[in-house]
């Protein structure tokens, strides 16, 4: 179905535009769609955020409970990231347990947060080896128009930043803000006809050969990367995508404050 006649025409159209250095929606190759972020949208969560990048929309909630640490990190809180591609968001999403797409998505978002040490997990230790804060970061995609990696990263990061540790309700003193050390931002590029385009729409993703998601920290250092799709990238394209991510990361960090 994805390869119907209509989509072939669309594919040709996108290819032709790109050959002329243009995109369907008129953006520059390194221009991100309009971003909107709304935090604290769900009061049953410790932190939450609703993010739109163009027509792609996600809602993210952070729930915190007291639990046991992992045996190999007895003095650290626990982070668990989950993504749900619910059928509400797209005719191509189906009900059921996470498939390979939502698993990859959640794991890439998780790595950006985890490897940048965004959350100071040691500050979320209550009693070493016994009690720590468990953070469930649950991502629901509500409307799908491409580039879920960046929308979900941004949703997760802003939801985490908005979270308040529910110490009081757990008999552990006063509530306090989530301990944050930095703001990891991912920027995803795709390769189409040997051009690199950031923040692809769904139509662009459908014709893309390869994808590269690059997550940088406040210093512009690399914290996570993920190449996807069954095409190849040249080393030059990889470096372009990294450079672009670093540059746009600074802008997006400013935007979300």
């Amino acid at each position: 179905m994805a390869r119907s006649i209509v989509s072939e025409i669309k594919r040709d159209h996108i290819h032709k535009l790109i050959a002329d250095g243009k995109r369907v929606d008129g953006r520059a190759w390194d221009q991100v769609r309009e971003i909107s972020v709304q935090t604290n949208v769900v009061e049953t969560a410790e932190g939450s955020s609703r993010v739109k990048i163009g027509n792609t929309e996600v809602i993210v909630g952070v729930k915190m409970t007291v639990g046991e640490p992992f045996a190999d990190t007895p003095n650290k809180g626990v982070l668990s990231t989950n993504a749900e591609l619910i059928p509400m968001a797209s005719p191509s999403f189906e009900s059921g347990p996470p498939d390979e797409n939502s698993i990859e998505l959640a794991r890439v978002v998780d790595r950006g947060i985890r490897e940048s040490q965004m959350i100071d997990l040691e500050k979320l230790c209550i009693e070493p080896g016994k009690k720590v804060w468990i953070n469930f970061v649950d991502i629901y995609v509500l409307d799908f128009d491409g580039n879920l990696f960046d929308a979900c990263n941004l949703g997760a990061v802003t939801a985490i930043k908005s979270a308040i540790v529910p110490a009081k309700a757990n008999g552990l003193g006063e509530d306090y803000p989530m301990p944050i050390t930095c703001t990891p931002i991912s920027v995803t590029s795709v390769q189409i006809e040997n051009s690199i385009l950031v923040d692809p729409t769904l139509d662009e993703e459908k014709v893309a050969a390869a994808r590269l998601t690059v997550t940088t920290d406040d210093n512009g250092d690399l914290r996570a990367m993920q190449k996807g799709l069954s095409g190849a990238l040249t080393l030059e394209q990889v470096k372009t995508a990294i450079e672009t991510s670093r540059r746009l990361g600074i802008e997006i960090r400013k935007l979300i404050g």
Binding site: V41, V42, E43, T44, A45, S48, K52, N55, E57, I59, G61, V62, K63, T65, N82, E84, I86, P87, M88, A89, S90, P91, S95, P97, F136, D138, Y140, L142, D143, F144, D145
Partner: protein, 259 residues
């Protein structure tokens, strides 16, 4: 139902803990056409409940053995997102949501002209973003608006509301505290015009007199909600502004903002 609790939920002036009278609905906000990918959608807030509904279809029915050669099937899936409740809910359907999905599907099947679309499926996805008692009614209310937004021919729009019993009094539209410590819960969905009941459940303890009173209160409230549903659809198609030509599938420029 928690049964006969000592907790005082209605004061001597008949005012409830959130300031409402016994027969008063919580504030309601309904918006149609809030999602881009879905064929139809709606957002509903009833008090602290926040619910999204999206419709896809009529479309090819999968799996095939569920196809009906004579009509469309209506499949509603009600789901609470993991952080919509105090204790995180594990993603995926639980027994409660399976039951609610079944009941909402049955109610919606009655109003959709399913004979128009043999062999297809009309899929309705209801996501509870924030829950505060009464989510099945909020979800059904949203689903009905989303179906209309999708341009699917229907006998009528369906509103739903729960009536309950708290401190031995029949009260309308229980909030979370009233639900936790209340004595009865009676969710109803109906076609207000004809008085046809499409969904009815009850649990707790009601005498016949209480039931009759509750039913009366519920019917009245359904009329109110019905008007708000129609308002939302009117706004969506800008009928109030005389812009009747507007093509349903093209949302108004700023419709997405608030959702």
């Amino acid at each position: 139902m928690g049964g006969n609790s000592d907790m005082k939920l209605i004061d001597e002036n008949g005012i409830r803990i959130d300031g409402r009278k016994v027969d008063e609905l919580r504030p309601i906000k309904i918006e149609a056409g809030v999602l881009k990918s879905a064929d139809g959608s709606a957002y509903v807030e009833i008090g602290k409940n926040k619910v999204l509904a999206a419709v896809y279809g009529p479309r090819e029915c999968h799996p095939r053995h569920m196809q009906n050669p004579a009509k469309a099937i209506v499949q509603c899936k009600y789901n609470m997102i993991s952080f919509s409740v105090s204790d995180r809910k594990r993603p995926g359907p639980d027994r409660r949501s399976v039951e609610i999905s079944k009941l909402i599907s049955e109610a919606m099947e009655y109003v959709v002209f399913t004979e128009n679309y043999p062999r297809t499926s009309i899929d309705v996805y209801i996501e509870v973003l924030q829950a505060n008692a009464g989510t099945r009614c909020a979800g059904l209310t949203a689903a009905a608006v989303a179906l209309a937004d999708a341009g699917i021919p229907m006998k009528d729009i369906v509103p739903a509301v729960a009536v309950g019993k708290v401190n031995d009094q029949v009260v309308l539209d229980l909030n979370k505290e009233e639900d936790n410590y209340g004595q009865a819960d009676l969710p109803i969905a109906m076609i207000p015009r004809t008085g046809e009941v499409l969904l009815m459940q009850m649990d707790g303890h009601l005498t016949q007199a209480e039931f009759d009173k509750a039913l009366e209160m519920g019917v009245k409230a359904c009329h109110e909600i019905y008007e708000l549903q129609k308002d939302a659809l009117r706004r969506r198609y800008a009928i109030v502004n005389g812009e009747t030509e507007e093509e349903p599938k093209e949302p108004a420029e700023d419709v997405n903002e608030e959702a």
